[in-house]
Amino acid sequence: MKAVITVIGKDNVGILHKVSGICAEYHANVIEVTQSVLQDMFAMIMLVDISDINADFSQIVDKMNALGDKLGLSIHTMHEDIFNSMHNI
């Protein structure tokens, strides 16, 4: 089971560190990261394995949302199934 975390917003020090810190806290293994900074806009998509997480997935979602609110970033944490079912036949 995997989840996709997207982070979009104004670039700042330590965004990747804070997001991956939450992943580590819940035992979600980061599999893949794509990241780009255009001028001062930061955009990152992270694929994480949530098979062995140590809490409910919704807790990670809450934590990421709280981080997004705190840093003024748009963070979406979604189960990969939604992308697979919408875009693949």
């Binding site: 997207t6 998509i45 997935f57 979602v61 979604m78 939604i82 992308f83 079912s85 875009h87």
Partner: protein, 452 residues
Amino acid sequence: MLNVYDILETIRMIQDECLDIRTITMGISLLDCIDPDIDKACEKVYSKITSKAKNLVSVGEQIEKEYGIPIIHKRISVTPIAMLVAACKGSDPVKFALTLQKAADACGVNFIGGYSALVQKGFSAGDLELINSIPEALSVTSNLCSSINIGSSKAGINMDAVKLMGEIVKKSAEVTADRQCIGPAKLVVFCNAPEDNPFMAGAFHGVGEPDCVINVGVSGPGVVRAALVKYPDASIDEIADIIKKTAFKITRMGQLVGSRASKMLDVPFGIVDLSLAPTPAVGDSVAHILEAIGLECCGTHGTTAALALLNDAVKKGGVMASSHVGGLSGAFIPVSEDAGMIDAAMNGTLHIEKLEAMTAVCSVGLDMIVVPGDITAATISAIIADEAAIGMVNNKTTAVRLIPAIGKKEGDILEFGGLLGSGPVMSINTKSPAQFINRGGRIPAPMHSIKN
């Protein structure tokens, strides 16, 4: 394999284009709650609904979080209550209405539907009692929805019921005149009502359905519009393809959410209703899709053709995305619930006659239309009869949800709030159809009903 473009597209659809699941509706059969003692029946109804649907809202919220997709409403539909009323002669059906409201409150759902009767061929025990109690039932409850099926392609149109429903719609508005006439906004008069519809106010749990079932209604007019505005010079064939592809994606999401909910609740998954259901929010309008196809304003000439194209493409795109499609499936055209329709009605482009033509090619019918408060019951009945005739002859579901604005006249506005929106009072033809309506009887089913 996931790719970045797909991920960002999904997020944009949800965040900027109002993509959502409109409703997860749990259908619950109440046939095993029938009892000659109405108090005992009510007790059974309350305990069955609250045991079956106790986790509906929490499961809905959990799925919202997991997939990051908003699920706007969680609803319940039940067996047409007239069937329960039939067993308890001489009792007041409003007791059932209050019980359903209490059960809806206990489960935390947004709407509960099924204060209904199916009278397309005539009234059986319980039907008249239930219909006559509708104005009071809708006045003393807030989340209860009612629907009456007065015609079908197989049975014809029950004109006695049509006459009665004109009076009931008017009375429902009168008894809720102090609350923006909200009563008839929760009352639908159907021809060819589907038994598995998750959308309100017309949802009820048909007798051919399983004991308990999950049906899902999708939404997404904003997504279709956003996809179309990128192609101002595309041909109509290309427009149809774009709509189909978008409808496919929207429906796949409905299928995913429905099957997940069904698994978590341990209840069979019924159908996905592939509907484009607008909300009054900016960017979530079916009228704006028609305008993106190339009309200056919804309601002008060409609207019916554009809507026919849209309705058909939505079905074609959606049908492959879901294992079972049902309900109303198509494009809804409620006036008060659609920002573009409201504007078109206010600026005088959209009239009730054009809406009637549009209902021949849309998913349902004349929906959420505010009419002058001095409209006669006979005129409401005649509008119902016209709409039922379109449904009967064209083998499609049609419905009427008119709101007589008591004490208001053309140009005034009723404000319902929430998903029901607000609507300007629209003008109607005032010549009398009373003699036609007063004749009573039944319009025979059309020739093509004899298919056996």
